[in-house]
Every structure is written in structure tokens, then in C-alpha cells.
Amino acid sequence: MSYTVKNLSQGDRELIAFRIGDQEFCVNIMSVREIRGWTPATAMPHSPAHMKGVINLRGAILPIIDLSARLGMKPAEPSVRHVIIVAQVRRKVVGLLVDAVSDILTVTDDNIQPTPEVSSDIERQFARGILAIEKRMICLVELEALFPDTESEAA
């Protein structure tokens, strides 16, 4: 068995691409901890629509966020074919519910085009750029922007 060690040069970054509906998104691989299948989550009271509930991740309580709903699209109806991307956002770990993981991409900063000007706030808020790869359009999502820091209220 052989391993190919990619030497990432300066400016290169690895991204994980995933699908929600007919759109593709990607996040930085450094924030992804693991990828696992869908397990039923325990619903939380008084939670927003994109909060699917919490699951047990080896003893830790992991909130599951329906990324589709969070991005303002149609809420997902989770099935066994859905996938949870476990990602670290600042000091918290969250599970992102997506349709499927599609690719691992190595790109340079040059590959990333600026976000087109659209009128909607939500897209401008989370999108950090657009990648054009083999006629696919992949939106680079910044997780930190999706989950703003609320810890700073501490006195």
C-alpha cells in the first residue's frame, strides 16, 4: 500500500466539496473532523428550523445543523443516504447535514473567484468565493460566518 503525500505549496488549500440539492458547496478540510452517516437526532425544544437536534458522538453532545435550511434553502428530510460532516467551528464541534460528499479538491487562491454580487444577504454572508472546476460551480462556504461567535458576551 502506498501513500501519495501531496506537497501543498504556499497558497494551496484542500477543500471538501459536498452536495445540497443540485448545488455544490465546499469547506476548508482543516475544519472537518470526520464524516458519518445520518442517525436520528434528539429534537431540541425552542430551536430554529435548521436545528435538527443533537446526537451522541462518542460521549459528546453534537448539534446537527441542516445546512440546506441554514443557507435559506428547502429543509432536508434526512434519510439513511444523508451524510453528517463533523466540523470544528471555533471551539465548538457541529454536525452539518448535507446530501452527499462529492469531492476533495486541491486549489490555489487563484482558482477562487470573488463572490458575484447578488441581492440576498444570506449568500453574501456565508460565501467566500466561487470555484469553477470542470464546468461545475462550487461555492466556498465560511463556517465561521454561518455560526457567529456568541461567547463574547461573557463579562
Partner: protein, 759 residues
């Protein structure tokens, strides 16, 4: 090990020494004149000085040296430790702590303060009394009712003598016996030989001995010479008798009263003896039988008792062991070795007593303990999972599996308790820190404040203790700054010019209760109300009860201080205190009597790791309700349910009416209220008082659950205290009963800004 590590150890030791120093000085402040206390204080400063010298921490050495010199004067009786002297010393202890911290973390110390103290200390050492102005108003040291526990009778004797202006005298443990004999209480020699009837009538020698030991200082010796060999042993016969020496002022009648119902079934002789002929004159008496141990069958030597035991406790333990028939064989074998064994035990016990109650300790990295606790948590979940699958697979024929499982369950629980006990620590260090804060703020505000602490040995989980310091500091600041009036105002109100802050800790039904009481002016309700109206916190025409007004101070953005002082008003209000207490799973409440002061009551969980819960089903969800909150459960009957207005329903329980709260509705799990008759009502009592009947659909059972934080990865959810993992690996939510009860009173459970909700 490099230099830094050694230095780190030094600083850790410093922390211990500083704690020792402060507690010693506080004891002296309360009138303790035990030479050992003075010595301990001296030793603490001395060892800090020694270590600091080795690391070249010159500032620390210089200050410790002056401090030590003055303490030496106290030690050698050249300086009377009056309250003024102790005041200087307590401040010096604070500066010493600051210097130590500065040496560890860098940073600087208020030099004018330390220089001033050095001068004061030197003046004291030179025999100059504290400045006359303070000396004039200084009260003479008076013994306080709540003095620190004296560890030995000798200390008690010295303290008693102190009342008449007695000078402390040095003592050694050699004259223990004489001191004791001189204390003058009548001594009784009791022989107690139960007959078989005593046991057959349901009496128990153990209990009688225990009652007897409550009368006074007791030592007992169990006579087992009558014990026959194993072959001749009659399990129902009585073979033991006891020779007891009891020092009590309760009189002979009290001794007979103990045996009131047993006197006909035993041979009892009570003889008053001269105090002088007690204990040391009798060779047999100080022998303390230890609990029997099978190991003595093989070995001549007897192992010393593992824990220091008082004579009375040892006697009770021996009696308990003796009443256990299965151990009689061991006892029989022991007869011949009785004498050597007993004296060995006596000397071991004496040695243990010399070591005071201080057990042996090791210092462990907190991370290691945490890892262990996590692992045990997983073990508990796993064990529950195993139990569940065994039940599901219904192994009726294989009782060995069930037995093994039961044993595993018990073991897991025991391991868990032991692991939790590792983290349990007395609240003492936090309380001690508070005394410094009281001193400092009293100085800044020109008030005289006495801090009284009670129950500082109450044990709580370390995380709870650590997180307690901040809110407590803030509340103490408030109590001294706003709560207690200036001496002039107090005098005008006819109060003692010295204000009192009382900090108490105690256990109550599986929680720790911390109370902070001041004897200040109490809450100015009119002012609070006006302030709340001005800040748009309540409508101008709101009709609030006194209690509700008092609790307004917990609202965000509320401060009663007219102007922001140096001490409070750092932008941290009581709302932050409340939030940090809530984050610990606790509640805080205030009661105030105008003119008499306020009491803050905090109720906190003992540990943040496990709780006993009732597992229930609500609208298809599994929830855990903390068992401590539940008073009783009942199945409501249709006749007991009454409608009350448009939306409320009450349930009548033994002629009182209690509001029904549908948990599923409150948590938004369903849109309409469920039919109470189909569910189960959990009668709960909330911290704020008042009962509620929480309606759930069904009860699954009781279980100990491991508490998992929701905040770690998510956020605080109103109505939910935490989460746990069930046997099948799924997450269940733990209900925050008080929040749910609060919501039923009309305080809406609002979703807060959260990681997932924001955006």
C-alpha cells in the same frame, strides 16, 4: 526535572502555605491562642522565605523575613496577638500572597502598601503598640462562640483558661494524661456484660455503646475471654463484655438511662472513680480493640487501623465486628494474641491521633482525574446498554448473567462514587479567599466588617468550587459596599458599628446550599422599584410583591449604587452573577428585611457529572427529570382535574390545588395540551417555593445519568438543564424543572441567541 518544574512545585507549595497562614491567622483572630496555631503560622512564612531564598526571589525573602521576625515575637510571648496586631498580620499575609503571585506570573505589587506594612511589622517587633487611635477603638480580643475546632483536649484546656486572661503555655504530648485528668470531669468505670436475652429482645450492644459514647469522652475495652472455640460456639449466645471508662458531666443517671431498656438483660456495674486515677493509671483501659481482621490468623503482628479513629468510634467498630457472628472464628483465634495485639493497636491509634486528622494526600494533575471521570461515565453508559440488551434478549433461564450484571451495576456505581469523591473538595479555599476581599473592601470603604464562615468543610466538586469564586466575590463586594452601612449610620440606627457578613455552606438534599447574609440596611425597595421603572424594566403601574421587587436586582442592566464606586460598578451586575450560578445548574434567591440586612441563597449541584433521574416520555421524546426535584408521582383521575380560567388547569391533591403544567406544551413539542388523565403527574417543588404538577405521558424508570454539557458544542436551551446519553446510545434531554415551573408562571422560555440560531 528542570528548574522551571522545581519552581512550579515551590509555587504550588506556597499556595498551600499561604492558605495555612491565612487560616491560622483567622483562628488567632477568633481568639485561638494555641501555641501550635502560632507555630503553624510561623512555619508557613518561614518555609516560603526558605524556598524564595533558594530561587533568589529577593523581594519575597525580604518581606517574609520581616514578617517572620514579628511572628517570632508572638511565638515567644513578647508580643500579645491583639486584634490590631492580627490586622497588620492579615494584611501582611495578603501582601505575601501578592508577592508570591508577582514572582510567579510577573507583574508588580503595590510597593507603598508593602513598605508601609514592613514599617508596621518592624514597629510591632520593636515592642511598639499599634498607633493609639486604632488601639483606642479596638475591642479587646474576645473569644467567639464559633471558635475553630480545637483538635486536642489540651487545646481546649488552654482556650478555656484564656477567658481569664491566661497566657498561652507551651506543652508537649507527654503530659497528655495529666492534662486530661486535671480537666476535672467525673470519670465512671462501667462494666457491661450482655446476656443472650439482650440480643434476642432486639437490643444491640453496638447501639448502646454508641449512645454511651455520646455522653462524653469514652474509651472501652471488649473482653472476649469467654468466647469458646468454634465447635462450641452458640450463635445466639452472648460472649462479650465491655470495660468502659467514660468521662462525663452528665451524671450516673444519664448512664443508666442509656441502658434503660436493657438493664434487665445484662450485668451492668457503674462505678464513679476519682478523676486522678483515670486512664493512665490503668494499664488495660487505653487498649483499643481494632476491628477483627482475618489476616491475624497467619501473622503475629496486627496491622494498624487504616484510619485514625477516636476511642469511642473504635469501640463501636469493635462491637459491630463482634456482633457479627461470621467473624467470631477470627476473634476466637485472636484470644491468645490479645494482649500484644491490643497494645499494638493502642500505640497505633495514639500515633494516628498525634498526626491529627490530616490524611495522606497526593497531588494529581486535574486532567488525569477528568480523563478517569470521563471513562467512568462511558462505563456507566455501557453498563446501562448491556443491561438493556440483556433485558431485551430475555434470558430467563440464565440467572448467572443477571447476577453478574447486578454485580457489575453495583461496582460501576461504586467506582463512580469513588471517582467523584476524588474531585470533591471542601469549599474552604474559596471561603478563605473571601475573607481577604472583605478585609480589602472594608479598608477602602472605612467600614468595620467581621466575616463569619460556617461549614467550610462542606465538600463539593472541584469544578463547582472553581466557578463559585467569581460570583461569590462579586456578591461579597456588593454586600460590603452597598449592603452594610457606614459605622456612623449603623450607630445612628442603634446597631453594632461592626458589620457582619456571614457565609455558610451546607448540604441539603443532594445539593449544596451557600448562604451569604449581611446585617446591613437591606434592599431599599422603593428605590429599586423606581430604578426598574426608570430603566423600563417594569411598567410604572406594575403591582409587585416584596419578593418580586427584591429579585429585580437580578435583571440585566440594574445597579442600585447611586454612583459607580471603585469597588463595584465594573459593568458586572447581579445579572451576571445569576447567569454564572445558572450555568452551574444552580439557582440564586434573595430575601431582604429592610433595616436588618439581606440573605442571598445559592443552591448548587454537588457535582456537574452525574445525577439521579426519572426517565419519562413526553410527546414521543425521552426526557430525564432530576429526582431531587420530584416530590411524588401520581396518576391523575378525571375528578381531580379542575379548569381554572381559560387556559389553566389545577389538580387537587389532598384538598389543595396545584397548577398542572404540560411539559410537552411548554417545550413546544406539541401544539395542544395533552389530556392529563392519560398521563402521569410529577409533583415537583421548585427552589422558589411552590409546587407544580408536571404532566408527562409515561414514566420509563429511574436511572443514574451522566450529565453531558449542551453548551460545549451548542448553547444553553431554556427549559433544558443538560443532556445525557441513554443505554441505546441516543441523547436524552435533562429537564430544567425550575425553568419550566418559571415558564408556567408566565416567564416565557425564550430561545436565546445561539450558535445555531444566530444569523
Amino acid at each position: 526535572m528542570d528548574m522551571n518544574e522545581i519552581k512550579e512545585i515551590f509555587f504550588q507549595e506556597c499556595e498551600e502555605q499561604l492558605a495555612e497562614l491565612e487560616s491560622g491567622l483567622m483562628k488567632m483572630n477568633d481568639g485561638d491562642r494555641d501555641p501550635e496555631t502560632v507555630n503553624a503560622v510561623f512555619r508557613a512564612v518561614h518555609s516560603i522565605k526558605g524556598g524564595a531564598g533558594a530561587f533568589g526571589l529577593d523581594d519575597l525573602v525580604a518581606f517574609a523575613h520581616v514578617f517572620e521576625t514579628t511572628l517570632d515575637c508572638v511565638r515567644s510571648n513578647r508580643l500579645e496577638p491583639t486584634q490590631d496586631v492580627l490586622k497588620v498580620m492579615l494584611k501582611s499575609a495578603d501582601v505575601l500572597a501578592d508577592l508570591t503571585n508577582a514572582a510567579r506570573d510577573g507583574g508588580s505589587v503595590d510597593e507603598s502598601r508593602s513598605r508601609g506594612l514592613v514599617k508596621e511589622l518592624e514597629a510591632l517587633a520593636n515592642g511598639e503598640l499599634p498607633s493609639p487611635s486604632t488601639a483606642a477603638e479596638a475591642p479587646t480580643p474576645k473569644p467567639v462562640a464559633k471558635a475553630a475546632l480545637a483538635p486536642t483536649p489540651v487545646a481546649e484546656a488552654t482556650k478555656a483558661a484564656d477567658d481569664s486572661g491566661f497566657q498561652p503555655i507551651p506543652f508537649s504530648f507527654d503530659d497528655f494524661g495529666e492534662e486530661e485528668a486535671g480537666s476535672g470531669l467525673p470519670v465512671y468505670e462501667i462494666t457491661f456484660k450482655p446476656r443472650s436475652d439482650l440480643y434476642s429482645k432486639g437490643n444491640d450492644a453496638t447501639l448502646l455503646l454508641r449512645d454511651l459514647s455520646r455522653l462524653g469522652e469514652m474509651s472501652s475495652y471488649c473482653n472476649i475471654e469467654d468466647l469458646p472455640g468454634l465447635d462450641d460456639l452458640d450463635a445466639e449466645a452472648a460472649y462479650f463484655s465491655w470495660n468502659i471508662t467514660l468521662k462525663t458531666d452528665k451524671g450516673e443517671d444519664a448512664i443508666h438511662a442509656v441502658f434503660e431498656f436493657a438493664e434487665w438483660d445484662c450485668d451492668l456495674a457503674v462505678k464513679a472513680v476519682e478523676a486522678a486515677t483515670s486512664i493512665s493509671s490503668n494499664d488495660e483501659l487505653p487498649m483499643i480493640p481494632v476491628p477483627f481482621d482475618l489476616s491475624i490468623l497467619d501473622e503475629g503482628a496486627v496491622e494498624a487501623p487504616a484510619e485514625p479513629k477516636s476511642d469511642a468510634a473504635a469501640a463501636v467498630a469493635a462491637a459491630e465486628a463482634a456482633s457479627n457472628v461470621t467473624q467470631m472464628a477470627a476473634a476466637a483465634a485472636r484470644v491468645e494474641k490479645k494482649e500484644s495485639a491490643a497494645s499494638a493497636a493502642a500505640s497505633a491509634a495514639a500515633a494516628a491521633q498525634n498526626n491529627a486528622a490530616a490524611g495522606q494526600t497526593i497531588r494529581v494533575d486535574l486532567d488525569r482525574v477528568d480523563r478517569l471521570i470521563n471513562l467512568v461515565g462511558e462505563l456507566v453508559i455501557n453498563q446501562a446498554m448491556l443491561s438493556q440488551s440483556v433485558i431485551e434478549n430475555d434470558t430467563t433461564g440464565t440467572s448467572s448473567i443477571n447476577m453478574g450484571l447486578e454485580e457489575l451495576q453495583q461496582l460501576t456505581r461504586e467506582i463512580q462514587d469513588s471517582v467523584m469523591a476524588i474531585r470533591a473538595q471542601p469549599v474552604k479555599p474559596v471561603f478563605q479567599r473571601m475573607s481577604r476581599i472583605v478585609r480589602e473592601i472594608a479598608d477602602m470603604t472605612g467600614k468595620t466588617i467581621r466575616l463569619i464562615t460556617e461549614g467550610e468543610n462542606t465538600e463539593v466538586d472541584k469544578t463547582v468550587i472553581d466557578k463559585l469564586a467569581e460570583p461569590l466575590t462579586h456578591m461579597i463586594r456588593n454586600a460590603v459596599d452597598h449592603g452594610i452601612e457606614t459605622p456612623e449610620k449603623r450607630a445612628a440606627a442603634g446597631k453594632n458599628t461592626e458589620g457582619t457578613v456571614r457565609l455558610t455552606a451546607k448540604h441539603r438534599s443532594g445539593r449544596i446550599l451557600i448562604e451569604l447574609a449581611d446585617d446591613g440596611a437591606g434592599i431599599n425597595r422603593e428605590k429599586v422599584r423606581q430604578k426598574a421603572i426608570d430603566n423600563d424594566l417594569i411598567p410604572a403601574d406594575a403591582n409587585l410583591s416584596d419578593e418580586e421587587i427584591d429579585n429585580l436586582i437580578f435583571l440585566p442592566g440594574f445597579s442600585t449604587a447611586d454612583k459607580i464606586s471603585d469597588i463595584s460598578g465594573r459593568g458586572v451586575g447581579m445579572d451576571v452573577v445569576k447567569r454564572s450560578i445558572q450555568a452551574l445548574g444552580g439557582r440564586i434567591n434573595i430575601t431582604s428585611r429592610p433595616g436588618h440586612g439581606s440573605v442571598f441563597t445559592m443552591s448548587l449541584p454537588l457535582t456537574l457529572a452525574v445525577l439521579d433521574g426519572m426517565v419519562v416520555t413526553v410527546a414521543g421524546q425521552t426526557l430525564v427529570v432530576p429526582l431531587t426535584a420530584i416530590v411524588e408521582t401520581l396518576q391523575p383521575e378525571a375528578a381531580a382535574i379542575h379548569s381554572f380560567g381559560a387556559n389553566h388547569r389545577l389538580i387537587s391533591i389532598r384538598n389543595s390545588f396545584c397548577p398542572l403544567v404540560d411539559v410537552g406544551r411548554i417545550l413546544n413539542f406539541r401544539a395542544t395540551q395533552a389530556n392529563p388523565v392519560e398521563g402521569v403527574a410529577l409533583l415537583v417543588e421548585s427552589e422558589g417555593g411552590g409546587q407544580r404538577a408536571l404532566m408527562v405521558d409515561a414514566i420509563q424508570g429511574q436511572r443514574q445519568v451522566v450529565i453531558k454539557s449542551l453548551e460545549a458544542n451548542y448553547t444553553h436551551v431554556p427549559g433544558i438543564a443538560a443532556a445525557t446519553i441513554l443505554g441505546d446510545g441516543r441523547v436524552a434531554l435533562i429537564l430544567d424543572v425550575d425553568a419550566v415551573v418559571g415558564a408556567s408562571r408566565g416567564q416565557a422560555l425564550k430561545p436565546e441567541m445561539s450558535l445555531a440560531a444566530a444569523g
